[in-house]
């Protein structure tokens, strides 16, 4: 069995309660950090761990903490991004629901490190039942002296607030999240200034993902070096992977970074292989926005090396033959899946979720959705394929926030690797527009 950092105790009965969580060694990291370490020493351990942002961007968390401005007399804020909305991703939902105190403990340690006295957990509004679980956990921690005024007699005060969103994918983008937390529409801000200088209420702010923060108790207890010893290269530690689609055992799995894609996909410890009687056709490895890979580039890179579940190996070959680890939303497609239909579906998502601020994204996502809709429904023309590539290129890199890129990549990559399937939809409009119709021409299945 692989090492577990986040999910070791997740199946212990009653782990959602303070009492059971504490018995399993919970809140020891708070005691250690607050009683024996300075805030800077905690930041140092985060840096040493090499833990990277688990929301999708993969930016080193300790380095992000290091950027936080500390002007005298100005409050600083820590905001946890629990707006998990990237299609294919449901790990934070699972973690918060099952073991809420892990995030609370991580928030206390991290807030202490950053000198924040009021911190927020911004949870997507659809997860109101999870918000209630977190609020209960906060009450329990407060009653035991781990939150509130003068924590453990140290003189350090911290208040935790759980904030519900209102249903908007864009609020997973950190500056949109801050706007939303201020009670506004979720329109991303121009950067600079970065949140580390001017964030929530124009004060220095750090925004971190649920999973990133939840690693902190282990890092404090065992040391950043011990964390960095797990994983491979610059992909240190473990990662939660949300596995969905045509596999035997969908669910949330904690892997040591560096396990092979083949093992993750096919071993009984994880996905258990493709569902019986079917074959692997394609994979979206890191949430709907990352490039889709065809079967022959999934377990091996273009150079024939084993593909690993790590930031570097998944992106090996760039976008030509690689993809990204992203949020760890691992969506598996067998031969019954229609790539055109799925691409249209994802495009509809991004069109729906575009905040509308930047013209390339607002207009481009709608345009791509329309073109894909007509190809899927038997009204496409050959020109449409190049048109889609053209639109995607004009969105990419031309918007305030990465939603534009996220909308462009799935379309560009689907055409890159499955062009024949698009062509077939256009040359066989009647066949292709039947419900459940799938291109069965030449392609590699594994």
């Amino acid at each position: 069995m692989a090492r577990k950092i986040l999910t070791e105790h997740i199946n212990v009965p009653g782990i959602e309660t303070f009492e059971v969580y504490r018995k399993q060694g919970g809140y020891v990291a708070v005691e250690k950090a607050i009683k024996t370490m300075t805030p800077d020493e905690v930041v140092e351990e985060a840096k040493k761990s090499g833990v990277r942002g688990r929301g999708g961007a993969g930016f080193p968390m300790g380095m992000k903490w290091g950027f936080l401005a500390k002007p005298e007399g100005v409050p600083r804020y820590l905001v946890c991004n629990a707006d998990e909305s990237e299609p294919g991703t449901f790990k934070d939902h699972h973690l918060m629901k099952c073991i809420p105190h892990l995030l609370i403990e991580g928030m206390i340690v991290s807030s202490y490190a950053l000198g924040a006295n009021k911190s927020f957990i911004y949870v997507r509004g659809e997860l109101m039942y999870v918000i209630r679980i977190l609020e209960k956990a906060i009450e329990e921690a407060k009653a035991q002296g781990f939150l509130g005024k003068n924590i453990l007699g140290s003189g350090y005060d911290l208040e935790l607030v759980v904030q519900p969103g209102g249903g908007a994918y864009i609020c997973g983008e950190e500056t949109a999240l801050l706007e939303s937390l201020e009670g506004k529409r979720g329109n991303p801000r121009n950067k600079p200034p970065f949140p580390a200088v001017k964030g929530l209420y124009q004060s220095p702010t750090v925004v971190n993902n649920v999973e990133s923060i939840s690693n902190m108790p282990w890092i404090i207890n065992n040391g950043g070096d011990a964390y960095a010893a797990i994983g491979v290269g610059r992909s240190t530690g473990t990662k939660l992977i949300s596995a969905s689609g045509h596999i035997q055992k969908p669910g949330v799995y904690e892997i040591e970074l560096g396990v092979s894609v083949d093992e993750f996909l096919n071993s009984d410890e994880y996905c258990g292989g493709i569902r019986k009687g079917h074959h692997l056709k394609a994979l979206v490895a890191g949430g709907s926005s990352v490039p889709i890979l065809p079967a022959h580039l999934i377990t091996k890179t273009a150079n024939g090396e084993d593909r690993l579940m790590s930031y570097e190996s998944l992106s090996d070959g760039g976008f030509a033959t690689g993809t990204m680890l992203g949020s760890g939303g691992f969506i598996v497609f067998d031969e019954t899946a229609c790539i055109v239909r799925n691409t249209w579906n994802f495009s509809r998502f991004y069109h729906h979720e575009s905040c509308g601020q930047c013209s390339p994204c607002r207009e481009g996502t709608g345009w791509m959705e329309k073109v894909l809709h007509r190809i899927e429904h038997g009204h496409g023309s050959m020109h449409d394929i190049d048109l889609l590539v053209d639109i995607s290129k004009k969105i990419e890199g031309n918007t305030i926030c990465p939603l534009g890129d996220a909308a462009a990549w799935p379309v560009a990559s689907a055409i890159r690797h499955f062009r024949d399937e698009f062509v077939w939809h256009i040359t066989h409009p009647q066949e292709a527009s039947q419900p459940g119709a799938v291109y069965m021409g030449e392609m590699t299945l594994v």
Binding site: G167, R185, R341
Partner: protein
């Protein structure tokens, strides 16, 4: 569910809750309470009318337009009256891979309405939503705070029959 009160006002319990929410933020930052307070409003009235938005604006000491622009941006706030049970089904990729389109088609057939509509008896409203972060347990829909997962025709029958009682 659709308690009506005229003039528009929160119940005493909800008003206390709203005050507690406003107190969570630093002084002068009460606008931060807007999203949570709109959720409380929707809990009381089932949807958010312009009268309710004006009322919320007054409570938070902000302009009505600041409430309108937020309520119309976020998809969870219903801007029209809805049925007793709002079924919000996930139409995004992973749920569709698991047979979502067929299940939602069956759901529409069973209720005799399409997405965005309410049954004539006012019992059910159907709403299409994007990814609910439950992709490994799809197809999925949500009714209020509850998630219904790994949906099949049989499960849909059970759920609808139970809620129709």
């Amino acid at each position: 569910m659709t308690e009506t009160s005229n003039p528009v006002a929160f119940t005493p319990e909800r008003l206390a809750k709203v005050k507690e929410i406003i107190d969570r933020y630093p002084a002068g930052r009460q606008k931060s309470a807007l999203l949570p307070v709109l959720h409380v409003a929707q809990e009381q009235w089932g949807w958010v009318s312009s009268e309710v938005m004006d009322y919320v604006a007054g409570l938070l000491d902000i302009l009505p337009v600041e409430v309108y622009e937020v309520a119309t941006f976020y998809t969870m706030y219903h801007l029209d009256a809805v049925g007793k049970h709002v079924i919000e089904y996930c139409r995004t990729g992973p749920c569709c891979l698991m047979g979502g389109e067929e299940i939602y088609g069956y759901l529409q057939e069973k209720l005799g309405i399409k997405a965005g509509e309410t049954t004539p008896d006012g019992l059910f409203t159907l709403k299409e939503v994007e990814c609910l972060a439950a992709c490994g347990w799809g197809p999925v829909f949500q009714i209020r705070e509850k998630f219904y997962m790994n949906l099949t025709r049989e499960k849909v029958d059970e759920i609808i029959d139970e809620l129709s009682k």
